[in-house]
Amino acid sequence: MWANLTESKSWRAVTRDTHIARLVTILLSLVLIFAVVKTEAFLNLRTWQSMAIQFPEFGLMALGVMLTMITGGIDLSVVGIANMTSIGAAVVMLSIAPRGADAATATMAIALAIGSALVAGTAAGALNGFLVATIKIPAILATLGTFELFTGIAILITGGKPKSGLPPLYGQTFAGKILGIIPVPVVVFVVAAVLIAILMNKTAFGTKIYMLGTNAKSAKFSGLNTTSLLVRTYMISGLYASLAGLVMLANYNSAKADYGSTYTLLAVLIVVLGGVNPNGGTGRLLGVVLAIGILQILSSELNMFPNISNFYRPLIWGGVLLAVITANHLSGRRSSHHIAKGKGPRQ
């Protein structure tokens, strides 16, 4: 909506090389700091394994948020979807395979639970898409509302208490390690990211969502079915959020309505840091993946200083977000200055 062509051109110019280069520099210097300050932990495989278990939780959510932001919207309900669907999965597992069930029942229960969680997540995303595309509620408000709604459903199912006592097989497979080295969550994340890459670069859908985000009106007049496009985008976001919920369910071995409450900010921060224009139309998957890496390393480095309390985390995330949007604004203004000259203020 807000982005006009001049702006997106400048954004593309920034993101094509400079922005990615900047992100790579930040990532490498953070890794370097890590290597110097905590060499022992740096050389320990387990440090990297624990990172690889953690980041898929918010990384998967960020991928969904990225797609919605490229269309010019946003999805603030991802944490709500993740908690609601993981609680649903836990309920399905517990009702089919209570404590002490045999392996065959447990396997079936887990398969059913995963399937129903993914379906529920996609349906939740479809509701978001319907509200945004058909009812035309601004995405911010629609997804804030559904966040409350989904969290409310999660509270209704659990009564606000955690759901635990899952079949051990679930945690063993989903939070386990392939060949004893590679954690499963990171494999899930990589597969999910590759699928998004194919979707964005090799399909018409990918091209269309960029067009929709650049200029919704001209996309509509070019004959794109914008309603169906938006609904599908939010469905993917919902699907990925429920996948994140399944990873969280395995990592914590329980589900609760208020898990991952900081992830909304983190997902938005990652997507903006990754170079996606919050007004839609531009942004690259590579940037977002780099941003996920940066934030995970930053987070692990914060852990190395026990005297920095966890309460500083929101301050740091919020500060980084403000710094990034300010920097983007300044560099965007510099490169688009000669084009946008003589135009009124943009919204």
Binding site: I74, I137, P138, L141, E148, G152, P314, L322, I325, R346
Partner: protein
């Protein structure tokens, strides 16, 4: 008369009012407790803090933005004030806490305004960032904990009452807090500013069409900056009222309230796209949310339903508002623009 009826039936506020009336009749029928003196006073009491917040949120939404940082802003301003005064064994009057809260609120609001007036990024993303900075400063840098003993003058303000309403049958009493006057005062000032000053008209103009407002001669940046300063002041006043009324400083008590307040503003007919909205609607929207919130206990619905029903209210409220915007010839305007 016919003119009045036509005007009424076209106004959004009228329908919100009808919903409130219908809802209160249902609650009265189920519980027999709604139209009692002390329940009505309780509702007025519960409206003060969300009502103050809603005035600020309304001004931001009219300008075409959205602010999710005001609960964190209020918490930080009031926490810092209370901490400082308690540590220095402050025994004086209410003027100093009031002054400190207002100044801190203005400074934090200016921090918001600095970004919102200069960046083209959606204000939601900006205020999401500042909200976390504010709560991070409070919980991390100030190491916030519950402060059980707030300064005497604040506690006195919180417990002072205009009158006490007694339920003749059950004997239950409810206090009408003095702070209700503060809500009335803020409403009056906000009404005047939004209606009769260039600044207020500028907020409406920016929300309607920012480029048009700039070309009409409004200083868009200046207005946006001071708008967030004012909203910071109003929010911190709400925080002061809440802390005074609780008789203790509970740092995280307000956090998470932003959704309920935004829902109230939007339910009251303030267009989510900016440019239109009235304070009458905002107060009716707040009343509706407070009635729903308070009456769940009266009717006997478990509190587990609270979050679910709030989400539903937001979706239905914004949905109706969005459909109205679409119906009011926006399609045509979109082509012309």
């Amino acid at each position: 008369m016919g003119k009045l009826v036509r005007r009424l039936t076209r106004a959004n506020e009228f329908y919100v009012f009808l919903v409130i009336v219908a809802l209160s009749i249902v609650i009265q029928a189920r519980s027999g407790q709604f139209f009692t003196v002390n329940n009505l006073v309780d509702l007025a009491n519960a409206m003060v803090v969300p009502g103050l917040f809603a005035v600020g949120a309304y001004m931001v939404i009219v300008s075409g933005g959205i602010d999710v940082s005001f609960p964190a802003l209020a918490s930080l301003a009031v926490y810092a004030t209370t901490r400082f005064l308690v540590d220095n064994h402050y025994q004086g009057g209410l003027w100093l806490p009031l002054l400190m809260v207002v100044v801190l609120g203005a400074i934090l609001g200016a921090f918001n305004g600095l970004f919102t007036s200069r960046l083209t990024v959606p204000t939601l993303i900006i205020t999401l960032g500042t909200a976390n900075v504010f709560s991070g400063v409070m919980q991390g840098a100030l190491r916030s904990v519950q402060i059980p003993n707030i300064p005497r003058s604040m506690a006195d303000f919180g417990t002072s009452t205009l009158f006490v309403a007694t339920n003749p049958t059950s004997g239950l009493t409810s206090n009408m807090p003095t702070s209700f006057l503060l809500l009335v005062a803020v409403l009056a000032v906000a009404f005047f500013v939004m209606r009769f000053t260039m600044f207020g008209r500028g907020i409406y103009a920016i929300g309607g069409d920012e480029s048009a407002a700039a070309r009409a001669g409004f200083k868009v940046r200046w207005i946006k900056f001071w708008l967030y300063v004012i909203v910071g002041i109003i929010a911190s006043l709400a925080g002061l009222v809440r802390t005074s009324m609780m008789g203790q400083m509970h740092p995280t008590n307000l956090l998470g309230m932003e959704l309920m307040v935004i829902a109230a503003v939007v339910l009251g007919g303030t267009a989510i796209t900016g440019g239109t909205g009235s304070l009458t609607g905002v107060m009716l929207g707040t009343l509706l949310i407070v009635v729903v919130d308070n009456s769940m206990i009266l009717v006997g619905i478990p509190t587990f339903w609270q979050q679910f029903s709030l989400g539903l209210l937001i979706i239905v409220g914004t949905g109706i508002s969005a459909l109205q915007v679409a119906r009011s010839g926006n399609g045509l305007r979109a082509v012309l623009r």
